[in-house]
């Protein structure tokens, strides 16, 4: 298996081992969103909306983005830790290459994201029996969630670059992440133009319309999670929203790599 000897893959394997051996990390990444999901389910779950779905059928998309968005913090902690432990410098004295370090980190974070999404799917759709249109739609929803997750990794790298140590990266990323999640209306939906400036809004809205309504790429997006009386269609179709998420992802990853390189190469 030659591919397994690829340096980026070896770094990814090492990162995954590292993650899986921190129970606090596992709890924070998986336990925390699961806890929130159960809590929100019992608070809002049973009540039906005028459209026939339960509130939580709609709310779950926000929970997914919340869980995945934690990747921002995970990546920030991971990169800040690597830099502060001196391992990044040590890797620089080996024929590793920064390209492989970034690629390895991206692979391991993506693997973990997949794991997170699968756990959330099992929790929401299998255990709590939430509604989804079909498996194909769910798969597209999965891809959107992944894309958003990768943008969170990029944001995490930017935060790690600007933080002096792991503790600062942890606190800073938590603040940024919680602000983004709340302003996007992912946890508590609200109507405001500000939501359009946050990546989680677009990811959550696309995911919701794909998995609940089975909307196509040309359908327009709604202004909020609870597609009820107050929600309006906005003049941006799902494909436009996808481009916005893709744009955020590209910019965050690109900026993350550039800033991290600048701050760690002397």
């Amino acid at each position: 298996m030659k591919i397994l000897r690829n340096k980026a893959i070896l770094i990814a394997i090492k990162n995954v081992k590292d993650k899986m051996r921190h129970w606090q990390y596992i709890f924070f990444s998986l336990g925390f969103p699961i806890m929130f999901t159960i809590m929100f389910y019992f608070i809002f779950g049973i009540e039906e909306t005028p459209s026939g779905f339960t509130y939580f059928d709609f709310g779950f998309s926000g929970m997914i983005m919340y869980a995945i968005g934690l990747g921002t913090m995970n990546a920030a902690i991971s990169f800040a830790g690597e830099r502060n432990s001196g391992m990044l410098t040590r890797l620089d004295t080996m024929p590793t290459g920064r390209k492989n370090i970034f690629l390895g980190a991206l692979i391991s974070e993506s693997l973990f994201l997949m794991f997170q999404i699968v756990i959330m799917f099992l929790m929401g759709y299998v255990i709590l029996g939430l509604y989804f249109k079909g498996l194909l739609e769910l798969f597209f929803g999965f891809l959107v969630a992944m894309l958003f997750g990768i943008s969170s990794v990029g944001l995490g790298i930017i935060i790690a670059s600007m933080s002096k140590n792991v503790q600062v990266a942890n606190a800073f990323s938590l603040v940024v992440f919680m602000i983004l999640i709340f302003l996007s209306g992912s946890l508590v939906p609200f109507e405001s133009p500000i939501v359009y400036f946050t990546p989680p809004y677009w990811a959550k809205q696309i995911y919701l319309q794909l998995t609940i309504f089975g909307d196509g790429l040309n359908n327009n997006l709604y202004s909020s999670t609870f597609i009820g009386s107050s929600a309006k269609l906005i003049p941006i179709p799902i494909w436009g929203g996808l481009l916005i998420v893709l744009g955020y992802t590209t910019v965050f990853i690109f900026l993350g790599v550039i800033i991290f390189q600048k701050k760690t190469k002397f």
Binding site: K14, K17, D18, G86, T89, M94, P95, T96, G97, F266
Partner: protein, 323 residues
Amino acid sequence: MSSDDNSVIIEIKNLKKHFKEVNAVDGISLNIRKGELFSILGPNGAGKTTLTRMLTTILTPTSGDATIKGFSILKNKDDIVRIIGVCPQDITIYDILRAEENVEFVASMHGMSKKDAREKTKKILGEFGIAGRKDWSKHFSGGMQRRLNLAMALVFEPEILFLDEPTAGLDPQARRLVWDFIGDLKRKDTTIILMTHDMVEAELLSDRIAIIDQGKIIAQGTPTELKEMYGSDNVLEISFFEQEHLELVKEKIAKISFITHWKEIDKDGNKSLLISFYGGLKNLISIIQQGFTGSIDNVEDLKFRQNSLEDVFLNLTGRRLRD
């Protein structure tokens, strides 16, 4: 030795690194030969780590250049990292990984096959006495972590090895183990650059030594050459209650023929005199008789010892290596 000498493997040319107002490395030029163990000896903050970081391509010099096996540290970083092993001063390991996972990971980064990486890892961990440990490295003692730190630099058998204070914090037994291992590497023709402030280590292991202080090389040579150049067989270190007493003794000993050097040392306002001289006990008694006649009560403390690299440093700078 000229730069085109075939045996030169590292050539440092007027290397400088300035951080704002601090000249951490201030125009160092050196040639290091293939297969030699070259020590850079200096106190903390002398510029040893900065020099290592530049030579290992982590840090870009402010000016100057160095070549390692003909590769420039400015232009050929990728070629250099393939042939060097680096053991950093701070323990730099993945503490959540096991010892063999850490070492195998480094071996893999150097392109070793899985089988080779596993075999070499097993061998080196056995030699360092940490084979068979299945717990995570964070549970190791400080000494074991330091040995692991070193094992990670050696697993791929580099041609050139940079060791930055490799025995700092080790107990005497572990220190001896590391010294033996370095000795073995030397016999295998590995070029070793040892950064240390431990004069015993430098004297015991080195073929040649450069003494560095405030970013500059202040002396270089073999341990014997250095001791001959900046000292004699023995050293007498005397501290006085009053400065005037020191001056008095200086005048008296000026004419003694077997005294080769003397130097005033000032530490926290207390002056002492370092006297290097040839010969043994007979000459010591002679110095005391001639230099301290009627004034022995003015002597606060008197130390007699064999000349060491510490004394060379004292003679050169007026400070101790550990000051």
